[in-house]
């Protein structure tokens, strides 16, 4: 690698440090950091009785899961990502392909080190020694970054040698073979799911290449950590050597990928979600809602744009289906006669499918966050702030509720393991949960406008912000539900009437939605387009 590239890496890292320091003292990052620490603290409290991840746990469960995550890198469009400035300044410079590839690997290593520092704060993922935990997670992130680049280089290499159908077959086989083997082994395994995870030979083989990485996280002595780290580094060195040895002409692929990513970023910065409106989707129509003081047309516009963003909607629905489906897949695959579906798995699936639409709001944002470049237009309309706020929140909350309800009822039907009260209460609880969560997102945005989009695929700050926002949302919803159920329970005890308890609970949730909407409306009224619009 040339001296210029080393210098750039150094200066860029110093600049990144300066930028983080400058941003840290602003209100939004402080609030987000508090949310992050609160979440970490809650997890620490919840897991205080547990000593850490056991070696057996890391070997039998962690390793195959990590191996599958690594394999998902095959589909990553950002394996060969270069920042636009790198393309403009380094691609035309007298720098060899190998030097550029090495530079890219080192930039990713920097991201991995930062991620390794931040993410182990979630103590439920802790190891046995803070130093080994940091080192282990850094190696894991390095593996994820470098393996994605390796897959991209191998894909580019295959593209010059194999026809597209053959490449598709290879990609499908890479997943179908291990998953098929696991499914077959699962059906014939005599014990329960937990024992299957420990006994499975397929999972053991699948996790073998990545086991040293987790071995560092859970190492109980320096010797064990060093031995595992040496193995992990040897594997990484082999991958890097192969990338450099292949030396494929990746510039064109990298430019195309970066341009695609930049378009998506621009779309998200403009509030359009990560996908633009497709030409085919403009055929979708939605009848105009009643005016309702102006809230109707606002909600109509947002929903219309939402249904004309089928890829964004599809992504959210797909992620809900995959993650919730994953929780159901184990017990379903076993299909043992007469064996009841474990309620824990069904509840996990409900939890996931309730949260994901709220967490992926940035991706399909159809509220104030979508409109931050259009705030002056919004302000110029003859509609009261309360009506604007109601219309904005209604569209996003309505969409999230629709997905949540469909998922909960599907899980209930498939598993038969959900409590009846939960299935019946879902249409009351979920709209309120979604409304408050979306209101919170909008409130934070209007109070302290931010553009929560990544600068590049390895943007640790973005990941940190997302975690922190999630923490804040999770905490607020938990407090709301705990408080509401608590008062409902007290009412039942005091009045001995279930009907009264349900009415109080529903009233409290409704009141929370009203308060949240009023706060959003007030924040919108005080939003100053000449001062508050983020750059």
């Amino acid at each position: 690698m040339t001296r210029g590239l080393w210098w750039l890496l150094w200066r860029d890292t110093i600049g990144a440090g300066r930028g983080i320091a400058a941003r840290t003292l602003r209100p939004m990052p402080i609030l987000l950091a508090l949310g992050f620490l609160l979440l970490a603290g809650l997890l620490a409290y919840a897991t205080r009785g547990q000593p850490g991840i056991s070696l057996a746990g890391a070997r039998q469960i962690g390793a195959p899961v990590l191996a599958m995550v690594v394999l998902l890198g095959v589909f990553s469009p950002h394996g060969l990502f270069f920042r636009p400035a790198e393309i403009d300044w380094l691609f035309p410079a007298p720098v060899s392909r190998r030097s550029l590839a090495l530079f890219n690997i080192l930039v990713r290593a920097r991201t991995a080190v930062l991620s390794g520092l931040v993410l182990p704060m979630f103590v439920s993922w802790r190891g046995n020694d803070p130093l080994f935990t940091f080192l282990g997670y850094t190696l894991v992130f390095l593996l994820l970054q470098i393996s994605a680049q390796w897959f991209a280089v191998v894909r580019a290499w295959l593209a010059t040698r194999a026809a597209l159908p053959i490449r598709y077959v290879l990609g499908i086989a890479l997943f179908a073979i291990p998953l098929g083997a696991v499914a077959i082994e699962l059906r014939t395994h005599p014990g329960d799911l937990a024992s299957f995870m420990i006994d499975s030979r397929v999972l053991s083989m699948l996790g073998a290449p990545v086991r040293p990485f987790l071995g560092v996280v859970v190492a109980e002595s320096g010797m064990v950590a060093c031995a595992n780290a040496a193995l992990a580094l040897a594997l990484l060195a082999a991958i890097v050597s192969h990338i450099l040895w292949l030396d494929v002409p990746y510039r064109e692929t990298a430019i195309a990928g970066t341009e695609r990513f930049s378009r998506r970023l621009a779309n998200m910065r403009g509030g359009g979600g990560s996908f633009g409106v497709s030409a085919a989707s403009v055929r979708s129509r939605l009848p105009m809602f009643p005016r309702l003081g102006g809230a109707g047309p606002i909600a109509w516009r947002q929903l219309l744009e939402l249904i004309r963003n089928p890829r964004g909607v599809g992504l959210v629905v797909g992620v809900v289906a995959i993650t919730a489906g994953g929780s159901l897949a184990g017990p379903m695959l076993r299909g043992a006669e007469g064996e009841p579906f474990p309620p824990g798995f069904a509840l996990v699936a409900v939890f996931i499918s309730t949260w994901i639409p709220l967490l992926m709001g940035e991706n399909i944002a159809c509220d104030f966050r979508r409109d931050f470049d259009r705030m002056p237009i919004l302000k110029s309309w003859p509609i009261s702030p309360l009506a604007v706020a109601t219309g904005q929140i209604a569209a996003a909350a309505g969409f999230a509720t629709l997905i949540q309800l469909a998922a909960v009822w599907f899980i209930a039907a498939v598993s038969g393991a959900l409590p009846v009260w939960l299935v019946l209460a879902a249409p009351v609880l979920l709209p309120a949960v979604s409304w408050v969560a979306i209101s919170l997102d909008n409130l934070l945005f209007l109070w302290m406008p931010y553009r929560n989009v990544p600068e590049d695929p390895g943007d640790v700050g973005f990941v940190g912000r997302t975690f922190a926002l999630t923490g804040l949302k999770f905490l607020s919803i938990s407090l709301l539900l705990t408080g509401a159920f608590g008062v409902g329970y007290i009412t039942q005890v005091a009045t001995a009437s279930r009907v009264m308890a349900v009415l109080v609970l529903a009233g409290l949730l409704f009141a929370a939605c009203v308060v949240a909407t009023l706060l959003v409306a007030r924040a919108y009224r005080r939003f100053d387009v000449s001062r508050d619009l983020p750059a």
């Binding site: 210029g4 200066r11 600049g15 400035a85 380094l90 035309p92 007298p94 510039r251 430019i255």
Partner: protein, 254 residues
């Protein structure tokens, strides 16, 4: 100085450049013009070596691109249409980066001179992230000129520049050409570039329509006045090509 022969670049579903050939001498300023999608940016990227052509040959100052790509890039500079800077580097650090990448000795006086000429001296220590588009464009141009390239490639360099910035840029282009370097500049702003280019290459759908000085191109178009503006020549050239194609299509029944 620059020879481009039979350049072909095929993307998945379309041919972006089709058998393009032209030459350029030191001191010449070539205006690369054509409608959207004509292949201007792809041509510049292929010449600069950041895209590998499917066929054809690029030779700059005796260096063959396919044989010595790194050496070729040492002799040229590409200023892209949308200048992206490293947000965490200052203006001065961008020039230092170029000096290190291109191994330019005693670069500081030259950098000071360029900042002065491009009116960037006051923003020397500003972070790139805080610059306007026009300023970013000027930083990219300064970076392109620092190592005194034999060939300067400018992709839509006038977009985002104010009138003073445009005049400053043309001054910089003129002085670069005066030192014996060749310049290729793509632009849609025909009125702006016509007095600053010594010759023009008109592209359409990846093919060369016309190449030569303004008067040579005008002379090759049957109905064009000798003193016609570049805009008139451009429309005359592209429309005559369209009608020629239509006539050919009529004849072949396509």
């Amino acid at each position: 100085m620059l020879e481009v022969e039979g350049l072909v670049k095929q993307f998945e579903d379309r041919r972006a450049i089709d058998s393009l050939g032209f030459g350029l001498e030191g001191g010449q300023v070539l205006g690369l013009v054509g409608p959207n999608g004509a292949g201007k940016t792809t041509t510049l990227r292929c010449i600069s070596g950041i895209l590998e052509p499917d066929a054809g040959r690029v030779v700059l100052d005796g260096v063959v691109a396919a044989e010595q790509p790194t050496e070729l890039r040492r002799r040229l500079a590409l200023v892209p249409d949308e200048p992206h800077l490293f947000a965490r580097l200052t203006v001065w650090e961008h020039l230092e980066l170029v000096a290190r990448l291109y191994e330019v000795d005693a670069w500081r006086p030259r950098a000071e001179e360029l900042l002065e000429a491009l009116e960037l001296s006051e923003r020397r220590d500003s972070m790139a992230g805080s610059l306007s588009r026009g300023m970013r464009q000027k930083v990219a141009v300064a970076g392109g000129l620092l190592h005194r390239p034999k060939l300067l490639l400018l992709d839509e360099p006038l977009v985002g520049l104010d009138p003073r910035g445009i005049r400053t840029l043309f001054d910089a282009i003129r002085s670069t050409a005066d030192t014996g370097s060749a310049v290729i500049m793509s632009s849609h702003l025909l009125g702006q570039i016509e007095d600053h280019c010594t010759e023009f290459l008109i592209l359409r759908a990846g093919c060369k329509l016309f190449h030569g000085s303004k008067s040579e191109i005008a002379a090759s178009l049957p109905t064009m006045r000798a003193e016609a503006s570049l805009e008139e020549i451009f429309f005359g050239a592209t429309e005559s090509s369209e009608s020629g194609q239509a006539a050919r299509s009529d004849r072949t029944g396509e």
